[in-house]
């Protein structure tokens, strides 16, 4: 579709080789502790740099590198307001639950997100329900990442779709099963750096090619003055939507189980604090630049075959061809780093929450290994089959799972860890209430619910209400459990 020479292929292959190198390097750092703790949370020994970079690489998916520039190409500067929740989302993400989850995880031995809730209430039911919800939503997400990735390399390198999907599935599954969380975190860190370099190179070349910010502004004004307004063309972003997105990015981010798992892997709380600052700095370097790339693309390449080509087309138009391969690895890196983390979250939910914790005794080392490898490969394979012929409802799962996961779990998790009065009834009511109110609004109104706010905003409120009412109606938990979580608790 675009001109791609051997230089592009060469850097691309070098990128893949480097990814495997980092997986191998990570493996050498393993300390040989308990198998599952090593495989699912990196032996709780991940330092601040790697932790920060894996956090952001997991959170930035194919959507940030393909979908967001596409939206900026269509809607202009209003996308800066659309994405503005990232001004504060790192602080909220780490500040809301980071240290608390790291502390509780160490104390109770939690390895997965469902573990955190199950142990707090000693309730297999809560563990099971959250495990199942998590597996369904994340497999949908994995399929979508396969599809997005394969479409990008189809557009850029001319690789047939089938081979693209296979390539993604096999590469990511290989290094994920090879090194578990530690390999995922280290390759994530490398991929985050590739993403950063790609974005910075692209934005510099694109703006200079267009003749500077003032020339870009004039070009946009000539095409459509609405491209320079906060609402965007045809009122793309009315104020209720802008407020909704300011809720969504920080709080839906904070509520992702794939990110909460990262806190479990921290080597110590002070490391989490440093990771927060690192990621905040990373975000300010990349996110405004991603919007600028899309906006500049509108001036450089006003007509696109498909909106999703905004990023690759701008790269091809502005970046010298010998650099293009490196830059195009950016979106690949974003997709692969998100994929590997989701794969691990799903397989850990199967092994830990579906299998091990429903047995009388825990798995032996050998059984754990077999189950872990089996379920990781299993999830990857099932998703591969779906990705070959993506089902029509896929897009619904994707839109749903991003905010739906947080609408379901964020409030119950916060209250479980911070409020001694929260009990089993309240937690279950919060999970089911958050999920059903979100689903109902979504089916009835789409993304514009009451007063034009996104269903997510209301679901957070409803879920809070359900948690509190449920807790007041239900029975208090055993003082024995409560003392473990709330040290100065007195019955």
């Amino acid at each position: 579709m675009y001109e791609t020479g051997p230089a592009v292929w060469g850097t691309f292959l070098a990128y893949l080789l480097a990814t495997f190198f980092f997986a191998w390097l990570a493996q050498r750092k393993a300390r040989g502790g308990a198998y599952m703790e090593e495989f699912f949370v990196g032996g709780r020994s991940i330092g601040p740099w790697v932790l920060g970079l894996t956090w952001i690489a997991t959170s930035a998916s194919g959507g940030s590198f393909i979908g967001v520039p596409a939206l900026a190409h269509t809607n202009g500067y209003s996308m800066l307001l659309w994405i503005a929740g990232y001004v504060i989302s790192v602080l909220v993400g780490f500040g809301l639950l980071g240290q608390r989850i790291a502390y509780v995880g160490r104390k109770t031995g939690a390895l997965t997100f469902p573990d955190l809730l199950r142990d707090r209430y000693d309730s297999p039911m809560i563990g099971g329900v959250s495990g199942v919800a998590l597996i369904i939503l994340y497999t949908g997400y994995i399929v979508a990442q396969y599809v997005a990735g394969a479409r990008v390399i189809e557009a850029v390198l001319g690789v047939p779709y089938l081979w693209g999907v296979l390539g993604f599935a096999v590469t990511v599954t290989l290094y994920t099963t090879y090194g578990g969380f530690r390999a995922v975190a280290w390759t994530d860190a490398f991929q985050a750096v590739v993403m950063l370099i790609g974005v910075l190179i692209t934005v510099t070349f694109a703006i200079s090619k267009a003749g500077g910010l003032e020339a870009i502004r004039a070009g946009l004004e000539q095409q459509d003055p609405a491209l320079l307004s906060p609402m965007g063309p045809s009122n793309f972003l009315p104020i209720a939507a802008a407020i909704s997105f300011f809720f969504i990015w920080p709080f839906a981010g904070a509520g992702q189980p794939s990110l909460m798992t990262r806190y479990l892997a921290a080597d110590n709380p002070a490391g989490l604090n440093r990771a927060l600052v690192l990621v905040a700095f990373y975000v300010i370097l990349t996110y405004p630049a991603i919007i600028l790339i899309g906006v500049t693309g509108r001036v450089l390449v006003p007509d696109l075959v498909a909106p999703d080509h905004a990023m690759p087309a701008t790269i091809m138009a502005a970046v010298p061809s010998w650099l293009a391969g490196l830059v195009l690895a950016g979106p690949m890196a974003a997709i692969m780093s998100t994929l590997s983390s989701f794969l691990l979250v799903s397989s850990s939910a199967i092994v830990r929450d579906m299998v091990e914790r429903n047995r009388k005794e825990s798995l032996t080392e050998k059984q754990a290994k077999r189950w872990t490898l089996g379920s990781t490969i299993g999830v990857a394979a099932v998703c591969l089959v779906f990705a070959l012929r993506p089902p029509d409802f896929l897009q619904y799962i994707v839109v749903f799972s991003g905010t739906g996961l947080a609408a379901t779990f964020l409030t119950p998790t916060c209250l479980s860890l911070y409020w001694p009065g929260m009990n089993k009834t309240g937690c279950m009511a919060g999970i089911l209430g958050g999920f059903t109110t979100f689903l109902a609004q979504y089916l009835a109104f789409g993304t514009r619910s009451f007063l034009d706010f996104d269903p997510f905003v209301w679901s957070l409120l409803f879920s809070l209400l359900f948690c509190i009412v449920g807790s007041l109606l239900g029975q208090r938990d055993d003082a024995e459990i409560l003392v473990r979580y709330f040290d100065d608790y007195k019955a």
Partner: protein
């Protein structure tokens, strides 16, 4: 010594407070600046985006550095 849940809860609530502050500036400011001066430009960027997105972004980077390095505890409590 203060238990972990009390300290982290205070820190979490502070994060929510800062979020509210950032949101009022960013969302409120964007529309307000645009209403006052729809054609304004600062350094080649629409004025509303410069004063209400890029400026607060920089300010909240400093806030994040303070929050992470000075405000948050390092978890030595029981």
């Amino acid at each position: 010594m203060e238990p972990n849940y009390r300290r982290t809860r205070r820190e979490a609530l502070t994060a929510v407070g800062l979020w509210l502050l950032a949101g009022s500036w960013v969302v409120g400011g964007s529309y307000a600046v645009y209403d006052a001066d729809p054609a304004g430009v600062v350094m080649g960027v629409p004025a509303w985006a410069f004063w209400s997105i890029l400026t607060p972004w920089l300010v909240f980077l400093v806030v994040a550095a303070w929050y992470g390095l000075a405000f948050l505890g390092d978890g030595v409590e029981r």
